[in-house]
Amino acid sequence: MSWSNVPTTDAALEGDAIRHTGVLVVIPAYDERECIADVVGEVGSAGFHCLVVDDGSRDGTADIAAACGAAVVRLPINLGVGGALRTGFRYAVDHGYTTVVQVDADGQHVAEHIRHLVAALDDQSLDMVVGSRFADDGTYPMTYVRRLCVRVLSFVIRRSGKVGITDPTSGFRAIRSPLLGAFAADFPAHYLGDTFEAVLVAARRGYRLGEVPVEMRERQGGRPSADLYALVQAMLRACTVLLTGTTFDLPARDNDRSRP
């Protein structure tokens, strides 16, 4: 796919401010007190509404986020990223938002890129846009094993979903209705279900996916949520999805009204 029609200069995007009214930035957060204030502030100054879904944190993340002016939904127990995201999707649908941009709470995503993801949704009439670390120049630092795993997952999506997503485990994504509504109804909660599996199933069910190159920072604090053990789990998941099919219900996209 090509990104040639993605506006990248700020001037080209200035006129899009009105589009941002229907956009909600959802930040799933679990024990991220060191970073959450910066992330909320950054998203706010980029001009987006911001919802922090506190995933049962015990370090006061929710209070910090609320003090920074974010809307906060507090899950009473830790559900994992998938559960936190589905809560965010439901909140977005309930409050009339048509687009959700998912941003990690650890500060590795650059809020300036949110508008690029949203612009790609509109300009290429896509249902989901993934912010990719590799689509650009591949300089993002990553261990060899992790990079290999990501390549395999990407290969699976290309073969099975017929779409090129170079960074399927990226947690930086924009999702628009009708896919948003479908994800609000059912979304996988297990590890990597929220990233890899959601991308794969959406592609298979006829939703239009794309990716946009983004720069990512090193984690600003907290601990990495995905270690080697987790990646092994991810590979197992990829195998089970291919063997047993999907683990959540996603209605096929209604292609009659797909092209505006």
């Binding site: 879904v53 507090r74 899950l75 009473p76 559900l79 559960g83 589905r86 309930d94």
Partner: protein
């Protein structure tokens, strides 16, 4: 006393112990009635297996197995079935817990919004 009779006696005692233990757990409300009944049925099955030891012996001869092997095989299959059933229950409960937690969080947020609006 023959080996089979000894085995039957042990099984019978085992069944009674299981039954007593389950009843005690149920009375302390550590076990819900549904599972208590399930385990009592299993205790009953063990007791019945004890009574049917001669029959199990004949069954074993048909399959060229000792009565002990027949009983062990049967109990392994039973335990496997129970574990799978419990795993299914736990998965279902996790899904329900997740849905409930999400609804709880969204409702709490909604309440906050409404309270803030009422204050102004």
């Amino acid at each position: 006393m023959s080996t089979t009779a000894k085995q039957a006696l042990v099984l019978l005692l085992g069944g009674i112990v299981i039954g007593g233990f389950i009843l005690r757990l149920a009375r302390k409300r550590l076990l819900s009635t549904r599972y208590a009944i399930g385990w009592l049925v299993i205790g009953g099955l063990v007791a019945i297996a004890a009574i049917l030891m001669p029959f199990v012996g004949r069954l074993g001869r048909l399959a060229n197995m000792t009565p002990t092997a027949v009983l062990l095989t049967m109990s392994s299959v039973l335990l496997l079935a129970i574990s799978v059933q419990l795993s299914i229950s736990v998965s279902l409960l996790q899904e329900r817990l997740r849905t409930t937690a999400e609804a709880h969080a969204l409702l709490a947020r909604r309440l906050d919004e409404l309270e803030q609006r009422a204050d102004h």
